[in-house]
Symmetry: C2
Subunit: 205 residues, 2 copies
Amino acid sequence: MNTETSISTEEAILVAARKVFELKGFDGARMQEISDRAGINRALLHYYFRSKDKMFERIFDEALERFMPLLSTWDQDPDESWELKLKRFVRTFITFLKANSMLFLLREIIRKPDLLTSRTKKYRKGLNKFVLYFERLKLEGQIRSDLDSRHIYIIIYSLCSFPLMNAIVFSYSLRISTKEYDELMAGYPEIISNLLIQLLKHQNN
Amino acid sequence: MNTETSISTEEAILVAARKVFELKGFDGARMQEISDRAGINRALLHYYFRSKDKMFERIFDEALERFMPLLSTWDQDPDESWELKLKRFVRTFITFLKANSMLFLLREIIRKPDLLTSRTKKYRKGLNKFVLYFERLKLEGQIRSDLDSRHIYIIIYSLCSFPLMNAIVFSYSLRISTKEYDELMAGYPEIISNLLIQLLKHQNN
DNA sequence: TTTACTTTTAACAAGATTGTTAAAACACTA
DNA sequence: TAGTGTTTTAACAATCTTGTTAAAAGTAAA
């Protein structure tokens, strides 16, 4: 097996496929468009990945593999204060989302809900670490106790995810270019970190 | 023209088409599935709407027509306090999103960005009312002045939209049923209204 | 150079999907 | 009931898309 060339074309295909699947979704993606983008003959896609389905599963699983670990990083560094942990999380998560399309995952899950239940089993254990972490903070009296941890979870992820997922609509309705929107969002992680910390702190009224 | 029957079948088709387009997206939607759902022959879809494209445009435009006015209701009732206005907006917007899929719009816009620029011109004027409104509140000293109005805009819409768009993933990762998620979200509008008000008020530190 | 193996291509087959059309069924009025 | 126009259907045509295959091109070792 000629590892040299096969890896590079396989990688070229994956890069192209990722892009096309993200842009058009599984149903809108065309094998022809993927091979054109990769600069190779369409039959090669089948040579390397057998079928469109198999290729998609590979892309989808790799996206999950990158994405899921981010959702369960709340029990590391027990010495770190929750404020710092939160800041670090928001920064990391947003940086990640800038480079990886979460909308892709969501769109495909809605198209085929089966994807969520069949392909994420191994991650599910880590998913409630967030809620457990904030439950503990509440018990320890470190944050206000009148908020449901699940709401906190939802709020934090919404503030991190949606501004990037919806960038195209936000920039349009704010009448700025996507470049200007990126600039506007440069300070965003810092801002919502501070807002969230302010919210979670004990209230003095 | 037999108005009686034609309106009811046309409406049946539209209901079915909306559902299928929302679930599968334009590319995944099949004319056959739509006609099955509507309980009619597939050729009737073409009789009423000529083509899949035309039918989609109708659905898409109607969705925009319902959605866009919600984004520009900030200059009515000048006597209403901003707190009340915000509460009312959050409640209305979330109620609306529960019944109408915003993900549908976003997904199709990403598939074909042209849809955004070509079919939303008439709404664009109203879109910056929000930002203008909050700019004015800042000038009048009614809310804290250190936040960018555009960030406020993004934060409010993110908190309202994403928990509903992403319901399927949130309920999965919280390990609760969609029914339980709905129950969890019953109190959500009230909660984020209060959080937002708290955030926007002048800081006392 | 020959041989054996891998990679790539062009051409083809099978199936799915949209859109058309001619005729049947229906509804309503004279 | 006969006639007129509308609604609905079944069958068909055209196109697009995925996937297969046999052969060509490339690579590396004997």
